[in-house]
Subunit: 401 residues, 4 copies
């Protein structure tokens, strides 16, 4: 089934699933085993403890659910809210768009705050809605920390401030799918009630594990929330936590061991170093885009994402062709523009297990693709801009000093 | 994390997750890749075609969902039924028990037909209920083909006959989690409207893919079913099938390639040969149990399962100790008795990628464990009984003749 | 290329290559890397230290050579001896036979001491030759600790005693290919000058690394030995040891990491426990052979090997058919009889990463094969005899108590 | 043992061992198996046939020997020559230097033709020696096709022409370690009598298999050659070829399956396309070196190697620091300068499983390292020069058109 073989490594720069470290691939290279033997609960316990560090929470309760980010969202919503609940949700791109559809399907009363794609969540509108809601009809504020479709990062601390300033009790529910473990993320400090991510993003695992972390207020809410739910119920997990069996249904043995290895690598590098690495790679990418004379879909610096950059192509080029040509000629996988920005942007994912030279190889590839498609790029210009920054800021690899 | 190391192979005889063939482990030993490149849709198309063969359907539509069997059930129920719908569901053991709880949580009006644990579904009661339901208030009959907790297999053809005899339009929804790809299963011939399984059972993969196959009547029902659903919606998949993108959210690249390898092995052996192999292994296990002077939890031959045998221990032995001792001393993983039969039975899973000598090693281990715990078993007796049958019936391995 | 697919695990009971632990397969599942980076020398240093523990030597110097056991022998002989040197070598079976041919090709004056196949080395003859050799014309005594072809183990301590009793300075060169890490082996205590093994035997790795351990007297001899040698020279390694580069030519990165994992498992189990496990498995195998009414090729208990048992079949059965049928019907790999005992014996290898239930599965398989071929075996008899012993002597798995 | 962890992929650009394709890693991810079962001979037969295609020979006989390139050379020499035989050998760099030492150790009368390091073999001297040798005292001409230490490729067709012009019967023995499967290599057309390579070079496998291919004249010579040899004897293999057992000692099961996968990939890409790819990558590297204002160690274009480029650094920089810094800061593995050129050159290996963007990432890394060490390189300059050439010449990936 490897019928599209091309020599050399595939250069994977979509914003997820991302490159898996060899150490993690190795850890997952195993037979099944009995998840009720003493080994798996001991492993699971260590994972639940360490997940909290990744979310920067000491009070949260993590759930590892066999699902994707979409399922993690469903679990978040149905365990904390009831049908008809008014929630605020921001529409900024294809992923926030999908969540709004999901919220509507789950029968919430969704108060959509829309932004132009390329802009961040409009927090002024949020502030006025929250301020106006003296009767606390708003039950939750739902937001993506990082909109993967446009490469826009929202300010979570600012959202919390708005709620606090108004002493508003709405739940603060955050999609950290393309942020947690790559961007600065502080569940406790920012008073996030539920945060969620998926295994195939910055954790650099295969797809298949949705990770939800619920704070005390969210857990409390789950006791009375009336949304219909079965597979995604938290109380089944909580019961198993007490019993020490941990899973209400069969987990993926391989993903558990893989997560252990992934977390070990993150802690070996240091979570703050991981975040700093993403910051450097994000900046380097943007410097290259600028050198090419192209625009970032994210319109202002405050929104620039350090995990994915959506690059706007000139009108005479189809961004879909950029992606197609990159794959066909250079074994380079870039992200398509989606929905409103389809054909107008292509995306460079720069998250997960990645380093400077991988990124520079990608940028060199993008340059060649742009030239292939008739854009007058100066070959080497983006690489030069990016590497000037990277060379100047690269830390020694701690384990190799 | 391999802190419970024991020399030699682990002997995995729980009824799932089961042993993964080396070929499948190899196929899954890979980095992530772009699921929107041309490679993955081509792979997916081949999988969807071949899944139908496993379910023995030409009219069904398969869905590969990132979830477990439990999620596959939720997908089945919410896409075909509406809250308040009356459904018949059989309670025979822990797994059917869990499904009934799930059905109640999903707000159906569940008409439970209970059997003593160790007995099959009471089809006489079904027949009378169906006959009495001239107004067709029963919207679905939900049943496990094989109850994994008690090792009981139900007669699917008989259920269909009851519905047909009464020209009753109820949907026929079947849990094939521990049967499909191991027991004789005929979705089309038996008029099953939805059948489902999980990757970690007879397909011999890791956990993480719930496979649901919906017949035309079920698909039709999904257009009007009013159950709240988002993650598990079929229409999102159907739209992606039309677009050729196949997945409404990120699939596990590894499980897709793993499933390809697993199906290739099944077809190489021949699906009928696979089923015949399970039949031989099941019979051999039961002959050993008989030789040990122990009872099968399944009370009559018509219910004997060829994928899992629940063995009843004498009252003075705790079946939990059998499982614990097997793991601690012999690196043998057996299944615990669950719920009502906890402590009373232990289970031998004999499904998936397994052969005669593996089973005989397991049976030899069970004998030693029984002796360790004070049961006066004659060592070698079960192996002798099983191998007399196996030796007499073993086919030549086709590829090695 | 897996065109001989058979369902379930292959039951590998040849006396090498043997089953590889999953942990070792995982450790080897990796890309190449620069063997001159700081990582590989650090790894290598740890390996060289730990290899000494396996050989039970503190004064020996180990060499890890990209070759097989045959090459390890060539390295041993050419580094310590000169053409024309008189050496004593014992002919007991096919492997000692091969070494004698090798010794002759390398132009030594080989004084062959032959035994009937199935008997151990004739140490009486050795004693008289050594005693008679007052002029010390004998430069080396070459012996297999365990003759893999006949399942015969020789007494190394007795050889040393003969040399000591006569104050004879001959080098004592020992083939530990199917013994080291499985049988009791004491390089220093027994005054062995060079011992050697191969990675694919009790170390449970793939083939490809010949391990030679040279004592001080052997190293001294290597300074004056006149045998022509290039690839197998020790002095090239010694120079690299001093430089800290360790390898005169490119090593297999994968085997180095694999050996690290293999040694870690051995030390986790405890080397003495590993040896005790082999002793139990060997005894169990012999009890089964006895129960079947068959004879061990090894004629006396003092020679019984705990790593391989050569089983003599009745004259009306072709032992080659046993091996063929085992593979064709039961996916069981047994060892052929070689040379003089071809057709007369088949061999059960019981070394390396192996446990009780694996062995019992194999024994059950052998019983069925024997019955297939018309030998009147009582099915279950061997398993019963073996498991009675095993059940009575099995230690708790330390990590699982 | 992964104590030198650095985030992201290691960029492996030493001239061997090289990057292993994921497909090959997968193929090798397996347990041992019985090499005497029918499976392995069938596999081996296919490999021996396909190796001939790689060497471009129909009359040669290949041997797959568990050893490295050094061992392959020993096998070549000892099977075809006798002690005291006069042979011509070219000294151009560290590897040819090692072979000359080896040849002397094996007791040949080595007539060394030395070149300045950075120059090719002096074929004028060869021509005069061959012309003068009317009595045919020269038994063999030994030459490296590609000297890995200096990045110099020699003209094999020219050597053959010299021998033919003089009707000289000397054996033509060629080290193709860093050429075969990457550079244009034509064993039959160039009348090469023995050619050899190692698995870890352009075949992109782990180290451990030395591949020797002997033409009819060499096989004939092996019947009378008097060099002492045992492990490396060809006649043992030839006997096994006739018996259909193929191996005189245990092969690495994993390397056999790995080689199968490697050859499959090479044929899928097309051997000529593989060679063209190396030619493009070699040229691109040289364009970058030029753009940086640095010199190629290879002094003339006719000698430029398409598999490895040795880059001369300015006198005020220690080339060893380039290598060290590349590894420590950028996770980039470059080759050290060896022996005479130690400290003066670093080497970029561009052979094996590699593509354009990987190389460009490496070149970007070298630029940053050079700047780190104070060389006034213009960042992006090498990448620009290389990518201008690559973009202009890249073929569509055939399987993706």
């Amino acid at each position: 089934m490897d019928f599209v073989y091309a020599p050399g490594k595939n250069h994977l720069f979509i914003p997820g699933p991302v490159n898996i470290p060899e150490q993690v691939i190795r850890a997952m290279n195993r037979n099944n085993e009995d998840y009720r033997s003493p080994a798996i609960p001991a492993l699971t316990k260590s994972l639940l403890e360490d997940i909290k560090k990744i979310f920067k929470t000491t009070t949260g309760t993590p759930f590892m659910i066999p699902t994707t980010g979409t399922g993690a969202w469903e679990s978040t919503l149905t365990n904390t809210l009831s049908p008809g609940d008014r929630i605020i949700s921001f529409l900024l791109g294809q992923f926030s768009n999908l969540w709004i559809t999901q919220q509507q399907r789950l029968q919430f009363d969704v108060d959509v705050v829309e932004s132009e794609w390329g802009q961040g969540a409009n927090l002024d509108i949020l502030a006025s809605k929250i301020a106006a809601d003296t009767e606390h009809t708003i039950k939750a504020v739902c937001i993506v920390h990082n909109e993967t479709a446009t490469g826009v990062t929202n300010n979570m601390a600012a959202v919390r401030r708005i709620l606090d300033d108004n002493k508003h009790p709405a739940l603060f529910l955050v999609d950290g799918v393309s942020s947690i473990c790559a961007l600065d993320f502080r569940m406790d400090e920012w008073g996030i009630d539920v945060a969620l991510t998926g295994s195939q993003k910055a954790l650099s695992l295969p797809t298949g594990m949705g990770i939800v972390c619920a704070g005390p207020k969210a857990l409390e809410a789950s006791k009375t929330a009336k949304s219909v739910r079965a597979y995604f119920r938290w109380d089944d997990y909580l019961k198993c936590y007490e019993l020490g069996t941990f899973f209400p249904y069969t987990p993926s043995i391989q993903l558990l061991y893989g997560l252990r290895a992934a977390l070990d690598l993150i802690f070996e590098e240091g979570l703050d170093n991981v975040i700093a690495r993403h910051s450097r790679l994000g900046k380097a990418t943007r410097l290259a885009v600028e050198a090419w004379g192209l625009k970032n879909c994210a319109q202002k610096e405050e929104w620039f994402s350090d995990t994915v950059t959506a690059v706007v192509v000139p009108p005479y080029i189809d961004a879909g062709e950029v992606v197609k040509s990159a794959w066909k000629r250079y074994n380079l996988s870039l992200g398509l523009g989606l929905n409103k920005v389809a054909g107008k942007v292509f995306r460079i994912g720069h998250l997960g297990h990645l380093n400077d030279l991988q990124l520079l190889g990608c940028l060199a590839g993008v340059e060649m693709v742009l030239m292939d498609l008739g854009y007058p790029v100066k070959l080497g210009s983006g690489v030069a801009a990016a590497s000037a920054f990277l060379q100047n800021t690269i830390p020694m690899i701690p384990s190799r000093v």
